[in-house]
Point group: C2
Chain length 215, copies 2
Amino acid sequence: MEEKEISQAVIGRLPRYFRYLGELKDEGVERISSQDLSELMKVTASQIRQDFNNFGGFGQQGYGYNVEYLYKEIGKILGLDVQHNFIIVGAGNLGRALGNYTNFERRGFYFRGMFDQDPELVGRKVRNVQVRPMEEMEEFIGDNEIDMAVLAIPKAGAVPVAERLSRTSIRAIWNFAHVDLNLPERIQVENVHLSDSLMRLSYNIDRYRKEQEGS
Amino acid sequence: MEEKEISQAVIGRLPRYFRYLGELKDEGVERISSQDLSELMKVTASQIRQDFNNFGGFGQQGYGYNVEYLYKEIGKILGLDVQHNFIIVGAGNLGRALGNYTNFERRGFYFRGMFDQDPELVGRKVRNVQVRPMEEMEEFIGDNEIDMAVLAIPKAGAVPVAERLSRTSIRAIWNFAHVDLNLPERIQVENVHLSDSLMRLSYNIDRYRKEQEGS
C-alpha cells in the first residue's frame, strides 16, 4: 500500500466510502459497479473510479468492485485494523453519550476509562466503565496502554487537560470542547466543533430563504 | 451585503473567525491587526485579509479590524441575527447533551420541544422542555413555528423520521444519525457523522506512526 501518496481530499472521502461499503456488505451485496455506487452515494462514477485508482483500483472492467475486499482495504488504509484503547474525560451528558456509542469497537477503539472532576459523578458507571477522579488520569493512562482521549468537557477545562494529556503516552485527542488545541505534532487532534456546524446550518437556512425571496 | 458571491470555502471558514472574534470581544479586545489574528488562529495574515475583503473589508491600513463590528457583520452573514425554533428528536444521552447545550441560544436557536418513542422517557424534562411522544411531533411543529429539527436517534429510525419532518414546515435538519438523508432541496441538512470523524483520527494516528517508523 502506498497510502502516503493519497491526497488529503481522497482521505477525507474514505470514511464515507467505508460507511456505504459496510452497509452493502451487511446487506449481503458482493459486487457493485461504480455506476450503482455513484447513484447510491450521489458522487459521480468518475470520481469514484479516480478515488479508488489511488490505492490500486480493486475493480475490474464490466465486473464491478468486490464489496468485502474494498471494505477491508479501505479499513486498512484508515488504520481500522489497529486496536486503540481510549478514555473519555468528562462524564456529563455528552461524555456518557460517547461512552455508549458502540460504533467505537467496530472501528478498533476500546473504551477503557472515564474521568470527571465532579465527585458526584465519580463512581458511576457508563457501560462497564466506572467514572474516576481526574487525579488518577495519568496513572491510569500509563497502566492501561491508553493511546487516545476523548475530551467531552467545557472549553475552560479543555486546554489544561490537553496539556496534562500531552505529557502522557496519549497519541490522539478527539476534541469536543469548543476550543482549538495547540499540541505537539506527535499528538493527532480531531475536532468536533458543534457550534461551527450549527453556524454552517444557520448560514444555509438564511441563504436559501434569500434566494427564494430573490433578494 | 453581497454574500451570494462569497465562495463556499470562505463560508466554511467564517464560523471559526466568528468564534475567535467572539472570544476577543468577551476579553474586551477592541481592535486586532490581521497579523495578531493570524498568530492566534494559525492562519496566514494574507488569508485573513483576502477572506475579509470578500465582504467589504472592515479593516483599515495600520489600524486593524474593529472586533465588535467584524463579529456582528460575520454574525449577520451567517444568519445568526435570525431567530429559529427547534425540536430535538431522540431523548437519549446525545439528545439530552444537545438539549443542555447553551450555545444554541447565542446562535439564535431556541430549544422548544423534545420527542422520543420510548414511553419511559416521555414526560422527563431536559432544561425546561418536557419529552413528548413521537405521535405529537407534527402538530407541535405546526403550533410552535418550529423550523429546525435535531436528529439524535439511531440510523434505522432517522430516515422515516426525516420523511415525516419533510412533510412539515421544517426548513433544516441537524443530523447526528449515522446516515445520509436525501430530502427536498428546500430542507437544509447539516450532518455530524461522528464515525467519519473517528475514522479520520484513526487514519492520522496510523499515518504518523508509519512516518515515524519510516515505512
